[in-house]
């Protein structure tokens, strides 16, 4: 291990010593790419010189060759399916021979996270990343907004500040979010409850589409969102990054900073601290201001790692705190108020710009602490133990202050939830033995929910246990992966039930759910131009507590919701087929048709007539079960027209059918088409990675909705134009990055079907964002390196 560090350091030092030589550009980089484990040659590994945007692919014997390059120092990225991409500095002088060991790096140099994620990296399931470029463009926006860059992923919004990811038409409890390897546990059941994660924690965002219960436990019916932090620093020194984002709409400002370090006298120990501050005032639609849409957020996290070759440990701690105003005109008294709000051409409340947040508003806190330890079990495998505790607090303040003055003075939230979750996992992964690698593990969870204020969700205690086994066989062009899992879940409810005469009785029903689940998938890599994968999965989800026990008025939603405590688990069977076609270096096409067949799909069925309360009439909804099919296609294509121009086309199409009612399913995304044209500038002196891009998004009207199930008809189709520009300046080996994005360039008034505020207002108007990224790095000269020198 030290040798590898030493080699990389050597390059780094040399990179500083050698000036760029002006010889003819006839040099060559060549060598071999080798799997460290079994020393086998890696076929189809990609090697890419970042500065030159030039690369090559290794052949069946692992050899690669990149010709006609200038002498100099370059950043090289080596990637291969199943390995984490490694990035390293090299010197090219004449005919340069370099051998790389991608998996070796993944195991030892990167942090422990990488190893735990290996089963995901190698999955036969469809996994898509948000590109670095798109991740940068969405800085300052929410996690949901960033994820929308992946084809097939939408977001369910409540105005501009609350955004939940939707995968293949499913959201909330049907999606699992992995935050730094831990299942995010929050008040996920609510449509106006966004994931409690600081988007700046993510160095990489990816989505696995399809049922994924085997590895992560129940609930991941639709897919998994993976939020990964940057690996801990593995070279001595102190570095970091400052991100500044400003937005015109809402006069928003975001600052995010991280610092990381590693001491040369103590290579094993690495650390990072990170924090984000964010604030915006009232945002505007094209024609009016959206009252009370301000937001304040402060987040921080730290990571400590102790990484040795044969064992390691990591502590991760993060805190997320936000206070966000809820658009005032959206809180309504009854059905008549809702009709009035909808009929009005402008919202019934307007006002001036302010940073002040008034009622109604939410205050949310989420805290995560994670401990992880791993050690190698001889030559064959690795054992990891992970424990995490999460605490989620939610305060919701109604628009209506309490009538009683003394109560009003206390300013207590009308709704309050606290959810505390402890999880523990033990996983043993074994290295490839005769082409088979795999993992086996057990996981346990205990979760308690308490409420104060108005009853919406009762108190409950949720205990889960699961055991899984995944194996993967890989030989030549074929890979097959299969897994099985068993889960046991017990939910104990503590609820006061009205029995008449102003008396309530405590009831404590118990619900037990147990299920076995499995999946199997295969990949066939014909050659470098064609890659086919297919995955059959099954997953299940126990009904959530709100689906079982809702019994009242949901103020934000202006609806009476009635749960059903006889609901049973949903079970999905899905198939996803992905064709990845790369006929030349210029063309890249991915087509992914899918089908989810969900037995006992839980949904809200509207009652035929509204129910009468003292506040007037309210529509009532009952949680019901049906069998549903969700089928569609995700399409991605990229065409590099020439050195400068690049064209991207994306489409996602979904059809969701309620089989028992013989009708469409409500609240499903309509079809989306997006095209983008990018112009990349050549590197000019110190200015690099410059581009200009224009994207055009077209969202069709959702015409496939059940009749008489919504307050108003779905909004019309719309299109949006977004522009992006960015460039970097190299100063002392660091790339200072500047970017400007204009969202909704034409300042178009539109409403999206999946925005809950579409009943009351148009969506946000034009927004210009400015971004600056300042990385810095102070390397320590390492003693060990000097010795080797």
């Amino acid at each position: 291990m030290y040798k590898v560090i030493a080699i990389i350091f050597l390059f780094l030092i040399q990179a500083n010593l050698f000036a760029q030589s002006d010889t003819l550009c006839k040099s060559m980089l060549m060598g071999k790419i080798i799997d460290e484990h079994d020393k086998s040659s890696l076929e189809f590994a990609n090697i890419y010189i970042v500065e030159l945007q030039k690369g090559g692919v290794s052949d069946s014997k692992g050899f690669y060759k990149i010709e006609n390059i200038c002498d100099g120092s370059y950043t090289v990225k080596i990637s291969h399916v199943g390995c984490t991409t490694i990035e390293t500095k090299i010197i090219v002088k004449g005919k340069t021979n370099k051998t790389f060991y991608p998996e070796h790096h993944a195991e030892i140099l990167k942090d422990v996270e990488v190893i735990a994620k290996k089963p995901i990296e190698q999955t036969t399931q469809t996994k898509n990343d948000v590109s670095d470029e798109k991740l940068n463009q969405s800085k300052g926006q929410s996690l949901g907004d960033a994820l929308k860059n992946i084809v097939g992923v939408n977001s369910l919004n409540t105005g501009n500040s609350i955004s939940k990811p939707i995968i293949h038409g499913m959201h909330s409890n049907r999606i699992l979010i992995l935050n730094n390897g831990i299942r995010q546990e929050g008040q996920q059941w609510g449509v106006e409850h966004a994931p409690e994660i600081d988007p700046f924690i993510a160095n990489k965002l990816s989505v696995i589409k399809g049922a994924n219960s085997v590895r992560y436990g129940s609930d991941a019916i639709a897919g998994v969102v993976i939020v990964e932090s940057k690996p801990l620093r593995d070279s001595a020194g102190i570095g970091g990054e400052i991100n500044l984002v400003g937005m015109t709409n809402g006069k928003a400002g975001t600052t995010s900073v991280y610092l990381d370090g590693n001491f040369n006298r103590l290579k094993a120990f690495s650390w990072r601290v990170q924090g984000t501050l964010k604030q915006n005032g009232t945002v505007s639609a094209p024609n009016y201001i959206l009252v009370n849409t301000g937001l304040k957020e402060y987040n921080f996290s730290y990571t400590l790692g102790w990484i040795k070759q044969k064992y390691g440990a990591e502590i991760f701690y993060s805190q997320f705190n936000t206070t966000l105003g809820i658009f005032g005109a959206s809180h309504i008294g009854n059905l008549t108020d809702l009709q009035k709000a909808f009929d009005s051409p402008v919202p019934l409340e307007t006002g001036a710009f302010t940073y002040k947040i008034g009622r109604p508003y939410q205050h949310i806190e989420h805290e995560l602490v994670k401990f992880k330890a791993y050690f190698l079990t001889g030559e064959i495998g690795k054992l990891s133990i992970i424990y995490a505790r999460q605490y989620n607090l939610r305060y919701e303040y109604d628009k209506h202050k309490p009538l009683n003055n003394s109560l009003e003075a206390l300013n207590r939230p009308e709704l309050q939830f606290e959810l505390t979750t402890h999880t523990a996992d033990i996983i043993w992964e074994h290295n490839r033995i005769r082409n088979v690698s795999g993992s086996i593990g057990i996981s346990g969870m205990t979760q308690g929910n308490t409420y104060e204020g108005r009853t919406l969700i009762p108190n409950f205690r949720n205990n889960n246990g699961g055991i899984f086994w995944i194996e993967r066989w890989k030989k030549n062009k074929f890979e097959i992966e299969g897994g099985i899992r068993y889960d046991y879940k017990r939910v104990q409810i503590y609820k006061y039930q009205y029995v008449g005469n102003a008396t309530y009785e405590l009831i404590t029903p118990v619900h037990v759910f147990e299920n076995a689940t499995g999946n199997i998938g295969a990949i066939y890599k014909k050659d470098s131009t064609l890659n086919l994968s297919i995955n059959f999965g099954s997953a299940w989800r126990a009904p959530s507590v709100n689906e079982l026990y809702s019994y009242g008025l949901h103020h934000g939603a202006a609806a009476l919701e009635y749960g059903d405590n006889t609901l049973i688990s949903e079970r999905t069977y899905n198939a996803i087929f992905t064709v990845h076609f790369i006929p030349s270096k210029k063309i890249n096409i991915e087509i992914s048709p899918y089908i989810h067949y969900i037995q006992d799909f839980i949904y809200r069925q509207p009652a035929p007539s509204p129910l009468l309360t003292i506040h007037g009439a309210f529509p009532a909804f009952y949680y019901k079960q049906t069998d549903a099919t969700l089928k569609g296609i995700d399409f991605y294509s990229n065409y590099k027209i020439n050195r400068s121009f690049e064209f991207t086309g994306k489409a996602s199409i979904l059809r969701a059918w309620n089989k028992k009612e013989n009708d469409w399913l409500i609240m499903m995304p309509s079809d989306r088409y997006e095209t983008e044209l990018t112009y990349r500038f050549k590197t000019y002196k110190k200015i690099n990675s410059s581009y200009l891009s224009a994207s055009f998004l077209y969202v069709t009207k959702q015409s496939r909705v059940p009749q008489n199930s919504d307050f108003v008809a779905p909004p019309s189709s719309y299109y949006l134009i977004n522009l992006h520009a960015s460039f970097s300046i190299k100063i002392k080996n660091q790339n200072l990055e500047f970017g400007v994005s204009v969202f909704n360039v034409s300042n178009k008034s539109y409403r999206d079907y999946l925005d809950r505020f579409r009943y009351f207002t148009d969506a946000m108007g034009r927004n210009i964002t400015f971004r600056v990224k300042v990385p810095f790095n102070m390397g320590f000269k390492s003693k060990s390196i000097s010795n080797n020198n």
Binding site: A313, D337, P402, L403, E414, Y504
Partner: protein, 188 residues
Amino acid sequence: MKEKTIKLLFATLAVATIWTSCKKDKDLVTVPQPVINESEVITTLKLTFVDSSNTSNIKYATFRDPDGDGGLGYDIFDTIKLEPNKTWLTTIILLNETVSPADTISNEVLEEGVDHLFCFSPTGTSATVTKTDLDANALPIGLQSKWRTTSTGLGTMQVELRHQPGVKDGSCTPGNTDIDVVFQTKIQ
């Protein structure tokens, strides 16, 4: 730094993380807050009509939803029955009957009269309503009113409480709805 020192430091930090991270761990799951909490619920709207010509002639009409919104539906929903050609002195009482003894919410409405307004909309009945009480800004509230009945007939009377913080101008348009009950009304 010695490796041992760092190991110790690491362990200390680990312990410190557990120690400091526990943001108010409320594990009182098994002891839920009883429903008898301090959040406000209006369960009952009670109208009392006193005949101005004969104060012993009193009529009542009530709407009651004993467990508040949702859950079980209403259990009392009277028809307003008044005699014709009379003036009725009408008082509104609002109760929270989820607690025992019941909480009189109409007192709070009176206290915050500047933010509240009752509106009465008859359909097909002869009753005309005049509000007789005033808030601090000399705008009517409607907890007290006079109902003048003339001819006999059958219709409805909508009783609304509008919550109008900062926007009360005497009209029913601004604000949102706190109460909205449509009573069947019989003048006979």
